[in-house]
Symmetry: C2
Amino acid sequence: MAVTLKDISIEAGVDIATVSRALNGSYGVHKNTRARVLKIAKRLNYRVNLMAKGLAEGRSRTIGVLVAAISDPSILEQIRGVEDAAYAAGYQIVLCNSYLDVKREALQLHSLLEKRVEGILIHSVEALNKAEITELVESEIPVVLFHQIPGTSNFSSVCMNQFEGGFLAGKHLVDLGHRRIAFLSGPRGHGNFTQRIKGFTKAIKSSGNDISAIIMYGQPDFEGGYKMATEMLKKHSGVTAAFAPNDMTAFGISQAVFEAGLSIPEDISLVGFGNTELTKVVRPPLTTIHHPKYEMGQAAVEILLGLAKNGRLGVPEHREFGIRLVERSSTAPPSKLRS
Amino acid sequence: MAVTLKDISIEAGVDIATVSRALNGSYGVHKNTRARVLKIAKRLNYRVNLMAKGLAEGRSRTIGVLVAAISDPSILEQIRGVEDAAYAAGYQIVLCNSYLDVKREALQLHSLLEKRVEGILIHSVEALNKAEITELVESEIPVVLFHQIPGTSNFSSVCMNQFEGGFLAGKHLVDLGHRRIAFLSGPRGHGNFTQRIKGFTKAIKSSGNDISAIIMYGQPDFEGGYKMATEMLKKHSGVTAAFAPNDMTAFGISQAVFEAGLSIPEDISLVGFGNTELTKVVRPPLTTIHHPKYEMGQAAVEILLGLAKNGRLGVPEHREFGIRLVERSSTAPPSKLRS
DNA sequence: CTGAAAGCGCTAACAG
DNA sequence: CTGTTAGCGCTTTCAG
């Protein structure tokens, strides 16, 4: 079996409580005793048993993170912010991937609760279902969402200004002179995308009557982008610009465009979302919407820990981050030949 | 506070031990009692406290997974296999991302040990350092590696036949008629890549004296592939084919090739490694080496749990998976014009 | 089939 | 500054 406080206490000839104190705080233990205990602990290769510690303290120093697909580079960057902030505050994170599987998500949520995590961060692509929301609310655990979910205003959230994101992209394309613009969005009804679509159409509607927007719904990933774009090119003629729900989807779109024998930005201008690493290096470099992913992760933890500390579960906090357009080479005025 | 066994026991008018039994096994509890307890537990929304349970049982029912970069789709697929197998066996996994940071990795390893995980799966890109190996060995915890690390033969491993992977790729390109072939590999000295390089050069050497191989080392990701290929195209003329350490790197290479005004496979034939999703959909579809990622993840858990059960830490098990070439459109005979 | 009691490893008052 | 004493919530003999 593993070394315990008792082993150390025997070896050091002091009480187990003293060992505990020596190992944790520096207060109230004689310097020499402390040094001796520390040395012995090291020699014996002692390692706290976090289960025992957690049980005794009544807290796990752990926060759960529920994400849909960690393969998404934007999400990964947020998680990195979460991890760093959590670690800095002495917390560990338990990462759960739902792989977009609702059942799996429920299971994981359940086990997070059993682990007595002190808070939960959620970044699922699909909205939570009723049962899950109820379960969360009843567990009285702090929750911070990385997106707005209709009907869950009792949870805190950290988001970017989705509306403005859509607006900026739409305006950019309109300003370039595009008149028929498509938004190949994520799943219908998801909070994030809904707002973005509103911003997008606002930009287009307010720019003149001769401009039209096409909205399509699909999976927000490479494959989904590829499919939506393929369909769009077939069905909707005259489109000269597209806006994607995230960069990966944009890459899928660009794939479909190339395959149709068209090029970017000459035939189709393309705007992504996320400003992930690949956007700079891909050909052509992708115009995209930037938002502070890492910082959002940090902020989420900050809020979560604040909620936990003050027991203010009733007053959710909402933090919104700014957004900006990063112009690269995938957007240009529509070529005369096609327009 | 959360509902405990005691709350249920009071409500049900039975002893707490009976409640425990009713909730866990079905043995030795009267049907009616059991039903009553279950109903009350449900009504009260009872949830085990895993910390308490783990402490009492002396086991955490948890296994740790240490990976370098979860953003790699191949790794993600393996993890999926791990999760499924672990879940089926009643285990939970604790996923740790080192982000290629050695210090971070050490920290995470440490905390896994403190959590009393019952085994650790490791898939780091960099080799473990001495201190970590010692720590692991001393902790007497089952360890399964997803790659071979020199000098750690006391750990079990699940790998693919790296040598054959390299050989198949090399042979395929040679058979197509290529005479000057590059392997833009991962970091120098890593077990996986070393073996693969050996297989690759073997295929080339054994095919004739007029064939030459160029080996380059770099980061095994999109960016790394892009850089290596850019450099290669500048320095080494006459190369008509390239082999990448994984698919993402291959995409980076293809980016660089396109940017140089060349095309695939007309100017450069390209072979990836991993057979990840994107290979099918990318243009041109990528010829690549397939290995059973999901199954490897499952196998790792199987071995791990076997080691734990039989206490046979001394006799590590090594499982090797087969590999095969998946031919798509990124490889072709060298075009007459260039060769 | 069920209750009583001990203990997992650690923390946290409370005395000294 | 240090030892004593209770637990934290759950499992697990051992009786009955």
